[in-house]
Amino acid sequence: MTQDLLALEGLTKAYPGVVANDAVSLTIRAGEVHALLGENGAGKSTLVKMIYGLVKPDSGAMTLDGAPFEPADPRVARAAGIGMVFQHFSLFEALTVAENIALGMENPPKTRELSRQIREVSETYGLPLNPDRTVGTLSAGERQRVEIIRCLLQNPRLLVMDEPTSVLTPQEVDILFTTLRKLSAEGTAILYISHKLEEIRALCERATILRGGKVVETCDPREESARSLAEMMVGKSFATATRQNAKVGAPMLVVDGLHTQAASSFGTSLKDISLRVAEGEILGIGGVAGNGQDELLAALSGEARTMPGAVTLRGEHIGSLPPRARRAAGLCVGPEERLGHAAAPSLSLTENALLTADTREGLSTRGFISWRKVRAFTEKVIANFDVRTPGPEVAAQALSGGNLQKFVMGREMLQRPAALVINQPTWGVDAAAAASIRQKLIELAGEGVAILVISQDLDELFEIADRFAALNEGRLSPARPMAELDMEEIGLMLGGVHGEEAA
């Protein structure tokens, strides 16, 4: 039996109106890979922030190696041997790997010495990384390696990882897991936060499950199923989406030879993209973030104009039409970024319903808005998609991320589109709501709507898509039937094949 490295005893942290952590106790043993599971808002980030010294607990105590541990700020936590890799990277794109790492150190060694150390660590742990490369040229997986190596240089005894695999291809996930297992074998404890239950079952020895700020269960994930873990998180059982064999009709949405210029020097340009989605079909587009998903969405929504024939709907050329005309033609779109793009944060849900539903739902006549109709449509979205809100007049920014996502999805899906394009339909939504959104997408396809789903969640695409194509550095692979594919092949489609050609 290994000894406890870090013990949390009754940690409580309250924010105005919500208790983020309510008497949370857990222990992490040296060399253990410990999973922290919970829905959005269950209190995972608050707990991790307390361990890392970013947030001070209201009550409760932590002990590290049996000694009281009260980090006042992250510097103290790092000195005590706690490293953290955040979900969102804090790297400067214009600087090199070594320069970025030096910026995060108290007393950085000379560049040459630091580069040597980086190479040494990267070789030891199987994380290939050239310290002289500019971060702007690195893939998301490589950027994450920068963050991990930055932590490893401090010789941590506990490494906290927040959703580390959301930006990685399956092959990169395998590399990461090999590294983490090696670290664990050397005695470094790992606190691993993720939504991906299969990963947790493959990697972790123990799991602590949080719900509503409280620890509801501690278990060995290897002895549980992904489903039982999900039910512990949600606190109830739910149905997974099921795909009936839909009748696939004539081509509805067709993209042919689409090219765009990158908006900024670190943006992605789309190169000769062609795809077709038929009535009643769901086409899934997978890919690691930053490979052209946002650009593809903008070209389809009309925010970026293209050649008229590059995008066609029912054979009609719509590539040069602005967003409202495209909606009128029957193409509805849901962007990934909810606050600020799909919805205006400070406006009410009613106003946000008008944002896109005006044209198709006839909410205004000759420009004059019928607020009565807008409110009726908003209430329909709220009711049909189980949006938890005090009412339709609440500002969009007051809703939790998952609830706003349900609202945005409902707003687009209830407009009876002919074709629907969604980027990340269930991002940040809890498991039960995600299943219900997926079910609704499948039902909509059953009604003959052509659906294009862009997602970084491959399990999601396996669940709902009929065909799959991979987006890599602005190029799209030919689409293949989902049933013919396994994880291995998808991984190759996402990473290898196109990447070499572009280099």
């Binding site: 409202r324 944060p345 106003e351 808005i369 500002a395």
Partner: protein
């Protein structure tokens, strides 16, 4: 230690209260300033805020109030549309001047014909003059991505130079014995923008301001264009996703605010001012910016804010004449109002928490 915490929903309560708080704070700070200038603060404030409406000479001042407030409201309504969309027209003063010159020039070209079509024609050209002047920053912004704040502001000074040129040159009264300034438009019946009801100060500019308030209120609350203006201001990316064309919005907002400022200039030059001189403009175009913000960019709010600022104008004049308060002190007083308003504005978006200092 004081900490600010963002409100999830902007507070409607503070939204209504902050203009009142700003007025009170301005009175206190302004009173201190007047005291520092050696004047009795209470008497000064009474002279500015009370006497013009309720004092001995109120019969004169009350009419003046609408004459001052009319152009301020008309200009501020136009500016508020752009400000809501994040398009900053700071050059309304220049558009006001150009509107006056355009409209007056058209009228003077037809002098001394006597027909009732001349005044409406001048009104149209007044609007066109302001519109054209506002198109310069609009075109430069959309084609070359210049900053409309700088361009519109600097064009004020160009317009003022042009005004001097006109007052001393092309538009000078041929019968004026060489004095600068145009013929008196208020005294020529074809172009006179006289009081509609004697003694009230209501002229066509005041009527236009009232109509502008109503139309703007309807536009913002009930019309898709008003809605587009609002989303473009609060979430430009969401507006683009919705289908708002930002370039068209720049032309629309600058065009409307320019046209309304031009109208205000025309009504002024045919009425209260009466003629084009090199200094007929008295800064309404700049003061209207304060009016727009004091009114919370809300048409009804702007109506009240215009009346309040109009009051400080005439009250300020009275205080200058009565107790010798310097004109600059009145301007500083108006500036304080904007300052306090913006400061208190914080309370609508944030709440203040008193927290103990942490290590």
């Amino acid at each position: 230690m004081i900490a600010l915490e963002k409100r999830p929903n902007p507070s409607a309560f503070w939204g209504y209260l902050t203009p009142l708080l700003a007025v009170v704070a301005t009175m206190i700070a302004g009173g201190l300033m007047f005291a520092a200038l050696g004047k009795d603060p209470f008497q000064s404030l009474k002279l500015i805020f009370w006497d013009p409406i309720f004092g001995e000479f109120a019969f004169y001042y009350r009419g003046q109030l609408l004459i001052k407030a009319g152009p301020l409201i008309l200009i501020a309504i136009g500016l508020s549309l752009g400000f809501r969309a994040g398009i900053w027209n700071i050059g309304a003063e220049g558009q006001y001047v150009m509107g006056a010159i355009f409209g007056a020039a058209v009228g003077l070209a037809l002098y001394p014909a006597e027909t009732r079509w001349i005044f409406p024609l001048m009104v149209v050209f007044g609007a066109i003059g302001g519109f054209v002047w506002a198109m310069i920053p609009a075109i430069l912004k959309t084609k070359f991505n210049t900053n409309e704040i700088l361009v519109s502001l600097l064009l004020v000074y160009v317009a003022e130079q042009f005004l001097a040129k006109m007052a001393f040159g092309a538009l000078r009264n041929p019968d004026g014995q060489g004095f600068p300034g145009s013929r008196n438009l208020a005294q020529w019946s074809s172009s006179s923008n006289s009081e509609i009801i004697a003694g009230t100060g209501i002229h066509y500019g005041v009527v236009a301001a009232t109509i502008a308030v109503l139309l703007a209120a309807i536009l913002l609350s009930r019309h898709r264009i008003g809605f587009d203006i609002r989303i473009m201001g609060v979430a430009p990316k969401a507006a683009a996703f919705s289908g708002v064309n930002p370039q068209r919005m720049v032309f629309f907002c600058l065009g409307i605010s320019g046209a309304l400022a031009g109208l205000a200039g025309l009504f002024e030059v045919t009425g209260p001012s009466g003629q084009i001189t090199d200094s007929f403009n008295v800064g309404y175009g700049f003061t209207a910016i304060i009016v727009a913000f004091l009114g919370r960019l809300n048409p009804i709010g702007i109506l009240f804010a215009g009346l309040l600022i109009g009051l400080t104008y005439i009250g300020g004049d009275a205080a200058q004449a009565g107790i010798g308060l310097p004109g600059a002190a009145i301007q500083a007083f108006q500036g304080m109002l904007l300052f306090f308003l913006l400061a208190f504005d914080l309370l609508t978006q944030f709440r203040i928490r008193w927290a103990r200092a942490t290590a």
